[in-house]
C-alpha cells in the first residue's frame, strides 16, 4: 500500500469516527443541534471524499479496478454507505440516520483495518477474476448491500419514532449478536458451527420476539411524522437497492455463463444473494399489496439487513465455501 493511499484511508477512517461522535452529540445537545448536525454532515462529506480518493489511489497503485478482495470491498461498502446517506440527507433532510450511517462506515473501516496484511497488500488477480465483468458485476452488489443496510437502519429509527422501544431494543440486540458472530468468525478460531448457530439462532429468536413486542407502544416517545418519513426513507433505500441487487445477480449470471458455462450453479454465495433477493421481493409485495403496518415493514427491513450481513460478510466468516471465496483469507 502506498503512503498516499494509507494516508487517505486513515483520513477517511478518522473523519468517519469524528462525524459519528458529532452526530451522537447532536442528539444530546438540543440547543446546538443544527450546528452539530451541520458539522457532522461536513465531516462525513470529508470522509466520503477521502475514501473516494483512497479507492482511486488504490486503483492507480494496483493498475486495475480496485475491487478484488474483502478489504477493497469494505472500502467500497463504506463509500456507498456514506454516499447514499449524503444523498438521502439532501433529499429528505434525515438527521438521525447520520450517526447510524457513520457508525456503519466506521465499523467497516475498523473491520477492514483488522484484516491481515495480505488483504491490505495489492495482490495479483486469480485467473477467474481477470475479466471486465468484475467491474460490472461487483459494484452494484456492494452498493445494494449498503442501501439495504441503510434501509434496515431507517427501520430502527422508524421503530423508535413509532414508540416501539421494546421491539427496537430486541432487534438491535439481535443485529449486534449477528455482528458478533461475524467478527468472531473473522478474527478468532472459534468453531464455525457454533457461530452459525449464534447467527441463525439469535436472528430467528430475536426477530420473532421483536415482532411479538410490536404491541408494546411507548406513547411518550417518538414522532409520528418522523416515523412516516423514516418509513419512506427505508422503502426508498430498498426500492433503489433492489434494482442494484438484481443487476448484480444477473450480470453475475452472465459472467458465470461466459466463464464457467452456466449462469446459475447454486453456489452458496449465489444462493444467499437469491435469499436476499427473495426477502426483499417479499418486502415489496407486502408493501404494495397488503395492509401491513409500517412497524412490521421496519422489522422486515431489519430481517433483510441480517440476510444482507449474512450474504456479504457472514458468508466467508461463518465458513460457507464455494466459488465466491475471493474474500477468504484464512
Amino acid at each position: 500500500m502506498s503512503e498516499m493511499q494509507m494516508a487517505l484511508t486513515n483520513t477517511a477512517g478518522i473523519t468517519s469516527v469524528m462525524s459519528f461522535w458529532v452526530f451522537v452529540a447532536s442528539n444530546g445537545f438540543k440547543n446546538r443541534k443544527d450546528l452539530l448536525v451541520k458539522i457532522g454532515s461536513w465531516t462525513l462529506t470529508l470522509a466520503f471524499v477521502a475514501v473516494t480518493a483512497a479507492i482511486i489511489t488504490r486503483g492507480i497503485d494496483a493498475q486495475r479496478f480496485p475491487l478484488a478482495n474483502l478489504y477493497e470491498s469494505l472500502l467500497w461498502f463504506a463509500w456507498a454507505t456514506m454516499g447514499a446517506y449524503l444523498a438521502l440527507a439532501k433529499a429528505y433532510g434525515v438527521r438521525q440516520l447520520g450517526w447510524l450511517a457513520s457508525l456503519t462506515a466506521l465499523l467497516m473501516f475498523l473491520y477492514g483495518s483488522w484484516l491481515p496484511q495480505s488483504q491490505h497488500d495489492i495482490q495479483p488477480l486469480v485467473p477467474a477474476l481477470v475479466s471486465y465483468w468484475r467491474w460490472i458485476h461487483v459494484p452494484p452488489l456492494i452498493i445494494s448491500y449498503a442501501l439495504f443496510f441503510l434501509g434496515g437502519l431507517s427501520g430502527f429509527i422508524q421503530l423508535y419514532q413509532a414508540g416501539r422501544i421494546a421491539s427496537l431494543i430486541t432487534a438491535a440486540a439481535t443485529v449486534s449478536l449477528a455482528i458478533l458472530a461475524v467478527v468472531l468468525g473473522t478474527f478468532t478460531s472459534v468453531e464455525t458451527a457454533w457461530l452459525q448457530i449464534l447467527f441463525a439462532g439469535a436472528s430467528l429468536v430475536g426477530m420473532i420476539i421483536s415482532f411479538k413486542l410490536l404491541r408494546r407502544i411507548d406513547k411518550n416517545r417518538g414522532d409520528s411524522k418522523l416515523a412516516e418519513t423514516y418509513d419512506d426513507v427505508s422503502y426508498r433505500c430498498i426500492a433503489i437497492g433492489m434494482p442494484a441487487l438484481t443487476f448484480g445477480i444477473i450480470t453475475g449470471g452472465l459472467w458465470a455463463n461466459h466463464a464457467w458455462g452456466t449462469y446459475w450453479s447454486w453456489d452458496p454465495k449465489e444462493s444467499m444473494a437469491l435469499v436476499t433477493w427473495l426477502s426483499y421481493a417479499a418486502y415489496i409485495h407486502l408493501r404494495v399489496h397488503r395492509e401491513c403496518s409500517a412497524e412490521k415493514l421496519a422489522l422486515v427491513s431489519i430481517v433483510g439487513l441480517l440476510l444482507t450481513l449474512m450474504t456479504y460478510l457472514g458468508f466467508n466468516s461463518l465458513g460457507l465455501g464455494g466459488l465466491h471465496s475471493y474474500g477468504n483469507f484464512k
Binding site: P124, P127, V130, D232, T246, S271, L278, V288, S293, G322
Partner: protein
C-alpha cells in the same frame, strides 16, 4: 389488497381455487419458504456441487446420513423444493394474468381535472393567494412542473401533471421477465446438457465418456475435441494468471473441422456447444533414470506439483515441479529436520546424483474442459433484460399534481387561513396538491418548494401546507401506500371527483 386490483380482479366473482392461486398472501408465503429452503441449501454443502465426501467431512457420517435422508444434501433437486418452485410458478402465472397485466388498461384511462375543493382533499395539498389577477402563475407552475419531468395538461384554469407513468408498468415488465425466464430455463433443462472432463495433452474430449448431466430430450454430440497444446501463464510472483488450451474439433471420421485456442473467459463454440477452460494442472512426469523410463504421478502442492518416489522404508525422493517444467529434486529422511535439495532438472539439463543421472522426458499437463449446450439461452437473456428494466422501473415514483386557479376567499379553500377577513375583495387563489406512490416525503418537499416559489413570486405569503390525514397514523397502525392508492383509485375511477374525494376521506 388494493383498490386497483379489486377493480380489475374482483375475488367475489371468482372461484375459490382461482382466488387461492392468485393470492398475494400465497406469494409472500411461498417466497419466504423458498428463501428459507435456499438458505438451508447455501448452508449445507450440496452433493451435486461439492460431492458426498464434503458433507461427511463437515458433519460426520451419522449426521450426513440423516441430512441425505431428509434430502438436504441435494435440496435443489428434492421433490419438496421442486414442488415449491412449481407452486410459485403457478401463483406467479395466476397473479400475472389476473392482477398484474390487466393494470395496463388502467393507465389508458384519462384522469379528471379537479376543483380547488377536491384538491383540498388530496393527501398533500396547499394553496397560494395571488397578488395579480392573471394566469401567469398557472403558466409558471406548469413550466416548473415540466422542468421536473412532469407531463402537463391544461384545461382553462385547471392543470393536471403526471410523473413516472410508465413506472406503473414495473410489475408487468418484471413479471413478463420472470415468466420468460421460466420458459428459457425449461427449454434448457429439457433439451440442453453440460459436463466436465479433464483431458491430457494430445488426448480427446469425448462427450459420451465424460461426466455429464442427465439427458432428457437432448443428444450428446458425436464429434470429439483434441487438445493440441495447453499451457499456463504466470504472474512474476508465480501465481497463475491465465490457462490456455489449443483445441481442434474432429468429426466422426477424424477430419479436422475447427481449431481455436481457449482460455478462462474465452470459450470455443461449435454446433451449439460451448467448451470452456475451467481448470488446469500437471498430471504426471516421465523421467529417465540411467536410461530407464519411469512415470510419476503429480499432486498439486500450493503453487507447485510434487511426485514422491520411495527409495527405501525411511527415505523418500521428492520431485517438486514448477508449471514451467523446472524440477527440483529433494530427499527426506526421518532424521533430517527438513528435506534437502539434491539437484535441479530442466528439459536440457539432467541432474547427476552420485551414480544416477536423472533426465526429464516430458511433463504431462491436464486441462479441465467444461462444456455445455444451452438452447434456452437467448430466451433467458431476453428475460434478464426484462427483469432488469422492470426492477429499475419500480424505483420510479408515480406522481400526480392537480392545480386549479379559482376566484374566491381562501376560507372555503383547502387551507383555512383564519387571519383573512371576509370583507376582502375576491382574489385569485391557486390551489394545488397531489399524491405520490413511493417516495412520498420527496414529493411533499417538492410541493413545499413549489408553494414557496409561487408565494414569493405571485402571492401574498403566509400559508401553511396541510395534510389530509396527519393524525390517524399511530392509532391506525399505519397508512401505507395501498391506502394512499385507495384514495387515488377512488378519484381515478369515479365520474364525479367530488363524491369520490368524500369517499376517500371516509375510507381512511
Amino acid at each position: 389488497m388494493n383498490q386497483e386490483s379489486e377493480k380489475i380482479y374482483d375475488p367475489k366473482t371468482q372461484s375459490s381455487l382461482k382466488n387461492a392461486l392468485a393470492s398475494v398472501q400465497l406469494t409472500i408465503f411461498l417466497m419466504s419458504l423458498t428463501a428459507l429452503t435456499v438458505l438451508i441449501g447455501a448452508w449445507c454443502p450440496q452433493e451435486s456441487a461439492s460431492g458426498k465426501e464434503k458433507v461427511i467431512e463437515q458433519f460426520g457420517a451419522d449426521t450426513a446420513k440423516l441430512l441425505t435422508q431428509f434430502g438436504i444434501t441435494d435440496i435443489y433437486h428434492s421433490p419438496f423444493f421442486l414442488s415449491l418452485i412449481a407452486m410459485l410458478t403457478v401463483n406467479m402465472i395466476a397473479c400475472s394474468f389476473l392482477r398484474v397485466f390487466p393494470r395496463i388498461k388502467l393507465l389508458q384511462k384519462p384522469l379528471p381535472f379537479l376543483s380547488g375543493k377536491d384538491i383540498g382533499k388530496l393527501p398533500i395539498n396547499t394553496s397560494v393567494e395571488l397578488k395579480g389577477n392573471d394566469q401567469s402563475a398557472l403558466t409558471a407552475l406548469a413550466v416548473r412542473l415540466s422542468a421536473r419531468g412532469f407531463k402537463v395538461a391544461t384545461s382553462g384554469d385547471k392543470l393536471l401533471a403526471e410523473y413516472g407513468r410508465f413506472g406503473r408498468l414495473a410489475a408487468t415488465v418484471t413479471h413478463i421477465g420472470l415468466l420468460t425466464l421460466l420458459v428459457g430455463v425449461t427449454i434448457t433443462s429439457w433439451t440442453g446438457f453440460s459436463g466436465f472432463q479433464p483431458v491430457l495433452l494430445n488426448s480427446h474430449l469425448d462427450f459420451s465418456q465424460s461426466e455429464h448431466s442427465k439427458l432428457w430430450v437432448g443428444k450428446l454430440p458425436t464429434w470429439t475435441v483434441r487438445v493440441d497444446a495447453t499451457h499456463r501463464e504466470d504472474y512474476p510472483t508465480g501465481e497463475p494468471k491465465q490457462w490456455f488450451s489449443k483445441l481442434t474439433v474432429l468429426d466422426t471420421q477424424g477430419k479436422e473441422i475447427k481449431t481455436q485456442e481457449i482460455s478462462v473467459n474465452n470459450p470455443l463454440s461449435y454446433d451449439g456447444v460451448d467448451i470452456y477452460q475451467s481448470s488446469w494442472g500437471l498430471d504426471h512426469i516421465f523421467l529417465n533414470f540411467n536410461g530407464k523410463e519411469k512415470r510419476l504421478d503429480l499432486q498439486p502442492m500450493g503453487k507447485l506439483y510434487a511426485a514422491f518416489l520411495p527409495l527405501d522404508q525411511n527415505s523418500v525422493m521428492i520431485f517438486s515441479v514448477r508449471a514451467d517444467g523446472i524440477i527440483k529434486v529433494f530427499a527426506k529422511r526421518p532424521d533430517w529436520e527438513a528435506p534437502r535439495q539434491l539437484g535441479e532438472i530442466t528439459k536440457d539439463k539432467p541432474a547427476k546424483l552420485g551414480p544416477v543421472t536423472i533426465s526429464l522426458i516430458r511433463v504431462m499437463p491436464v486441462t479441465g474442459l467444461q462444456y455445455k449446450c444451452d438452447p434456452g439461452l437467448p430466451i433467458t437473456y431476453v428475460a434478464f433484460a426484462f427483469i432488469i428494466v422492470g426492477v429499475l422501473m419500480a424505483a420510479i415514483p408515480h406522481r400526480h399534481v392537480w392545480v386549479s386557479l379559482e376566484t374566491g376567499s381562501k376560507k372555503e379553500g383547502a387551507t383555512g387561513n383564519e387571519n383573512k377577513t371576509d370583507d376582502m375583495a375576491p382574489s385569485k387563489i391557486l390551489y394545488f396538491g397531489g399524491r405520490s406512490v413511493k417516495a412520498k416525503v420527496g414529493f411533499e418537499r417538492l410541493i413545499k418548494t413549489l408553494e414557496s416559489q409561487m408565494a414569493s413570486e405571485f402571492g401574498i405569503p403566509k400559508v401553511e401546507i396541510s395534510e389530509a390525514q396527519p393524525t390517524e397514523k399511530l392509532n391506525a397502525g399505519h397508512t401505507n401506500e395501498s391506502s394512499a392508492q385507495k384514495k387515488k383509485e377512488h378519484v381515478l375511477a369515479g365520474s364525479s371527483a367530488d363524491s369520490n374525494a368524500k369517499d376517500a376521506q371516509g375510507d381512511s
